[in-house]
Amino acid sequence: MSHACHFFGLSGLYARFRATVNNIVTATFVCDRRTLPFRTEFSLAGTRCLLSTNSHNALRLSMPWQSVLNGCGANFFQMKIIESAAFESEASALPHFRGLGHLVFAMLGSKGFLNFDLLRRRVIGVLPPAAARDAHFWNTQLLPMTIGLLGTTVGVAPLHCACLDRDGSGLLVAGNSGAGKSTLTAALAKRGFAVVSDDWTYIRCQADKLLAHGMFAPVKLLPDTIRYFPELRHAEAKKTMNGEIAHEVDPTKMFRSKVKAQSDPKWILILERTRVAGCSFVPCRPETLTQFFEKNAEKLPQELPEALRMRSGIIRQLSACDCWVLRTGEDPMQTAAAIDTFLSEM
């Protein structure tokens, strides 16, 4: 559809406005029952996702996530996905996320476009066929970003930390950017800890008990960590979603480590690098831990007061875990060994 028009303002001040429009509307997509005839539901971080789509690919890729529907909480959100060959975008464009109020936009370059409506607990989007059938994209990008953005509206607090499981007990590894959380996660995985999550962990409360969920996203290791992980010599570093060049590693393949979908958080370490040799575990007060997680959480809009209360409640509950500030001047392998020894003495 193409049209041109002219506007003239009619204010009492005789201000004049003139514009010529040439909007070429090339792609219009409507999400309704007619355009999205297929329905299913699956589980993400203990919540129910109600998927409507026109895509057989999307249905197929949701199937592995359907197996964990039992034990899901009552909270749910909607996902409406249109697969269309009409979607076009610059292939080289990096993912671009923006939000205002309750709406969040995600331009995913050649992978598609999504909009998250936090008030209506709904994600709608258009994916080209290549992305709609790309299991890696669904499992490591689309689904994690969905629970990351909608989580607070369905009782899940996304926290910027890694989670590992040691004999059924969860260890959260937090720390400021650049502290080395991912490198330490990989080192702990090599020591036999099961990986639940690397960058983001999704915490929810079930029957007054906290559960930490992961999304099977890969562990992201920067190229310079090759000195600790010679296995990376055979892996290719690629541009990641945030534009960094990194190795995105599946710990089951790279380190033959275990992965778990969830764990009961018991211990929390706030990682700090120091130039002083050795590792020290300094007990951390609950209020310090609360402040740390609140400060590192994304600001939420005023339209979502319930989400803010829920997240703060989970953070307060987390502060009941045993928590230490871990100051380390050692390399990741030695730090992982020190953590292993420390926890075994608990």
Binding site: L13, R18, F29, I82, F97, G101, M107, D117, I124
Partner: protein
């Protein structure tokens, strides 16, 4: 001058740029509707007829919040319209992301750094007007035709 006072998005964490201040504010008339526009860039205030009702307590029919996004580069791409219930979303690449919530009577948008005032006024303002009138269930085509006729008569 556009405001850049939220250049630090890390403390507190605001990766989505939700909290960029939008101190420039005015009221316009679009068709029969009163529209309040808030923005962080004076150049994004549209050249539309000003609302003559100066009383701030006078309710508006629709609010626009337009954010100049200094970190979004590139020019307008072909528009993608996505509609679901009372929500319409328009994406023209990272350079223009718009959302119109009919139930809340809100229009929000990010306008990229490389969208100059002329492109904004000639290409985007008419689109914003059309989306607004559709949101208010006004016959946008009729209103646009009226304005065009007035233009022809002028």
């Amino acid at each position: 001058m556009p405001l850049r006072d939220s250049a630090n998005y890390q403390d507190p964490l605001d990766l989505l740029r939700r909290f960029i201040p939008t101190p420039y504010r005015t009221r316009f008339r679009v068709g029969g509707a009163s529209v309040v526009v808030e923005t962080n860039d004076f150049a994004l205030l549209p050249e539309l007829p000003l609302e003559t009702e100066s009383d701030e307590s006078f309710p508006s029919n629709l609010s626009w919040k337009l954010v100049r996004d200094h970190d979004a580069h590139g020019l307008l791409q072909e528009p993608l319209h996505l509609m679901c219930g009372g929500l319409t979303v328009v994406a023209m690449g990272a350079a223009c992301l718009l959302g119109v919530d009919r139930e809340r009577r809100e229009l929000v948008g990010f306008i990229g750094a490389e969208i100059d005032p002329r492109t904004f006024h000639e290409s985007l303002v008419p689109l914003l007007c059309r989306l607004s009138l559709e949101a208010l269930e006004t016959d946008a085509a009729e209103w646009l035709d009226d304005w065009n006729e007035d233009a022809a008569d002028a």
